[in-house]
């Protein structure tokens, strides 16, 4: 994690990692409120100004749990030309992409139409954000690749948006958030998986979102830290749902990426699923294999926020249980809990595993050469 307490020069020095890396979780932001308007039908401009976006929580502005930093982002990441962190391509290049030798950067836009109560607005904003990713980012820097954001609660409209972008090399995945109206294995979301499989796009599930459910099974917690730690529990329930509903049995070519929710919990969850499945399989006859086998074959994990045990051996053991071929390095730029590429892995990793971890796994998964 990286909280800047003292001033430091805006041009970051190289972090010392010589090899090229993939950053599988970069958050591009809009410089101004109306930056999306050119991509959005006129009726929605006044709608947004009059009624707001209408998420599944009560706040007209700002998140329900105030962040630890403005925009949850690094204080040194404000672009010199103004606007919030992550809103300037040139500054992102200067501060992150160039010095950290990013060869592939996957964009995961967060303030989109996902999770809005008005499904028409959700679809319009998602489509606009996808156009905006091409116009502002991917067409201007070939290292950057976009994620197709979709109106997640309307599976049919979401599938249409995916089909619209299928074959467009500006995009390398479909993006969902973890917290939705229902657990992501539910059938209302199946058209999304069907279209993604058809388009050959992995589906990334990024921590966050508001779906109208309390974010614990015992209601709403009090603190931002509970929401942040809790993303890993939400992701566990999402993954359990995807497996147990039979999504991977139904869509055998589907690949999914768990983004920004940790990976240390994966072995324990897989063991628990297998153990319970051995007794309760009669309830889920649509599963043809053990839950852990679906996870092993269909799931990839981004690394940030990196698991950080006292003993590096503990980290290595967990990674061995998951597989070095399944981790995708990510920084979460420009967010405050950014992982510095050169400091993420402790010493003692083989060159082959490092190469897979930092770059090759991502290139292979996303089909980028």
């Amino acid at each position: 994690m990286n909280i800047q307490i003292r001033e430091r020069p805006q041009s970051a020095a190289s972090t010392g990692l010589k090899t090229a890396i993939a950053d599988c979780d970069i958050h591009p932001a809009r410089a101004t409120k109306d930056e999306l308007y050119p991509f959005l039908a006129k009726r929605w401009h006044s709608h947004l100004e009059t009624f707001g976006a209408g998420p599944h929580h009560g706040m007209m502005e700002g998140p329900p749990f105030p962040k630890a930093q403005p925009n949850a982002s690094r204080r040194d990441a404000y672009p010199p030309e103004g606007g919030p962190q992550g809103s300037s391509l040139s500054f992102m290049q200067k501060q992150h992409l160039d010095p950290n030798n990013v060869a592939l950067g996957v964009l995961n836009p967060l303030a989109t139409g996902q999770g809005l109560r008005n499904h028409d607005l959700a679809a319009a904003i998602c489509s606009a954000v996808n156009d905006w990713q091409i116009e502002k980012w991917t067409s201007k820097d070939s290292r950057l690749k976009g994620s197709v954001v979709v109106p997640n609660e309307d599976g049919v409209a979401a599938a249409a948006e995916i089909r619209k972008r299928a074959g467009d090399k500006n995009f390398v995945q479909v993006l969902l958030l973890s917290r939705n109206a229902e657990p992501l294995g539910q059938r209302r979301y199946w058209p999304i998986y069907e279209a993604a499989q058809e388009a050959g796009l992995p589906v990334g599930v990024h921590a966050f979102g508001y779906g109208g459910n309390p974010i614990t099974a015992s209601g709403w917690p009090s603190y931002y830290i509970e929401e942040m730690v809790g993303h890993s529990q939400c992701q566990q329930s999402v993954l359990a749902s995807l497996v147990l509903e039979g999504v991977f049995a139904r869509f055998p070519k589907l690949k999914m990426v768990m983004v920004e929710a940790g990976f240390g919990w994966a072995p324990s969850l897989a063991w628990r699923l297998d153990k319970v499945f051995s007794k309760l399989h009669a309830e889920v006859p649509h599963l043809k294999r053990r839950p852990s086998e679906y996870i092993r074959d269909h799931i990839w994990w981004t690394t940030q926020p990196m698991e950080d045990p006292e003993s590096r051996d503990h980290l290595f053991q967990v990674i061995e249980w998951i597989g070095w071929d399944r981790l995708l390095f990510a920084t979460d730029y420009p967010h405050w809990d950014f992982d510095e590429p050169s400091r993420v892995l402790p010493a003692g990793v083989s060159d082959a595993n490092k190469q897979a971890f930092y770059l090759d796994n991502a290139k292979k998964l996303y089909g980028v050469s």
Partner: protein, 358 residues
């Protein structure tokens, strides 16, 4: 197989209430009348459907009646079988699902009195957990105080999925009473179903609810730690029951990392989460969510960085292990002794007063 040693403490036994009508003798006239006049049915929670394979080992099922409803079977299959010195009874009866605090209070009172008469009075190895009407804090405290006079009650029992996160200040009078009376708070798997049973909404299947228990324990640990329960009540012990424990180390890595990053939000958390867990939180042994290889399990214990956290349990009659293999492969004799005897005795202060119990 790792052999159990005699004299252990089984921290998670589930005596079953045969039917709501079994509690009628322990209710006053008003509530007896309510139950019968209104045609109330049994309070079985979806967390444990009676016929679900998880709810009972096949060879522990009764010819008739709910698994866990026969004392003789519990004696033969759990207490005698494993040479248990003490067995702690955690009744999982659906009183937490009730919405009326008055009804919940009457049912909890009846349930606790039923446990004394039908179980604790009949086997002096058995100890009880006080089931509380969490629907009312005031009434929960009163029930704790009423039952605590009987030293055979050794803990207070709550469910892991309730109305609010358990660290919330709302619940603190319960914790104050428990700390004062030397009672750990046992938090058991199960939901009141007042909220969706996963962190992301309602799933479709029983298996999903069961898997989700582990996530619920994780969010509750976060809540209990960051709200400051153990800063306020340093002597309070909490025991996670039927929680699983192989998720603990990676969970703490994450919590520790975020605590380092944003501890300014909860400045009263003045010790690292791992230290708080070591001093105040314990976990029952079963279920062991790990592969059967001893090497993996020993690594998991190593990741937990403590051999004092786990308390022996059979989870009787739930189906968590086969035959006599209640202890996973590969535990050292020293760890077996800690898990079966030392750790539970260090957790349940009331177990040491066996000889003085009338």
């Amino acid at each position: 197989m790792t052999s159990p040693i005699p004299g252990g403490v089984d921290c998670d036994l589930h005596p079953a209430v045969p039917h709501l009508t079994s509690l009628l003798p322990y209710m006053n006239g008003y509530w007896r009348d309510q139950v019968t006049t209104r045609g109330m049915t049994d309070l079985v929670s979806q967390s444990y459907p009676v016929n679900s394979p998880i709810s009972s080992r096949p060879d522990w099922r009764l010819a008739q009646g709910k698994p866990g409803s026969s004392l003789a079977d519990m004696q033969a299959q759990a207490l005698d079988k494993f040479g248990t010195a003490y067995g702690i009874c955690n009744p999982l009866y659906g009183v937490q699902m009730v919405f009326s605090e008055d009804m919940a209070t009457a049912f909890c009172r009846a349930l606790n009195d039923w446990l004394v008469k039908e179980w604790l009075d009949k086997d002096d190895r058995l100890r009880g957990s006080i089931v509380i009407p969490v629907q009312s804090i005031e009434k929960s405290v009163a029930e704790i105080e009423r039952c605590a006079e009987d030293k055979r009650f050794v803990q207070v029992l709550m469910l892991v999925m309730g109305d609010m996160p358990l660290g919330k200040r709302h619940y603190w009078p319960i914790y104050a009473a428990a700390e004062r009376l030397g009672l750990p708070i046992g938090i058991h798997a199960g939901s009141a179903y007042h909220n969706p049973p996963t962190t992301v909404g309602w799933g479709s299947y029983h298996i999903e609810d069961y898997v989700a228990q582990a996530q619920a324990f994780q969010t509750q640990l976060t809540s209990l730690i960051v709200e400051g329960v153990f800063a306020r009540h340093p002597a309070l012990k909490m025991v996670m029951l039927e929680s699983g424990f192989t998720w603990l180390a990676p969970f703490l890595w994450r919590l520790h990392k975020f605590w380092r990053g944003i501890r300014m939000e909860t400045p009263w958390v003045d010790r690292a989460p791992l230290e708080i867990v070591r001093s105040n939180i314990r976990f029952s042994l079963q279920p062991v969510d790990a592969p059967p290889e001893p090497d993996t399990l020993n690594r998991l214990f190593d990741h937990m960085q403590s051999d004092e956290l786990i308390l022996f349990s059979t989870d009787y009659p739930h189906w968590q292990f086969e035959g006599d293999a209640v202890l996973p492969e590969g535990l050292s004799p020293d760890l077996v002794r800690k898990i079966m005897i030392d750790n539970p005795l260090a957790t349940y202060s009331r177990l040491r007063v066996k000889e003085t119990t009338p």
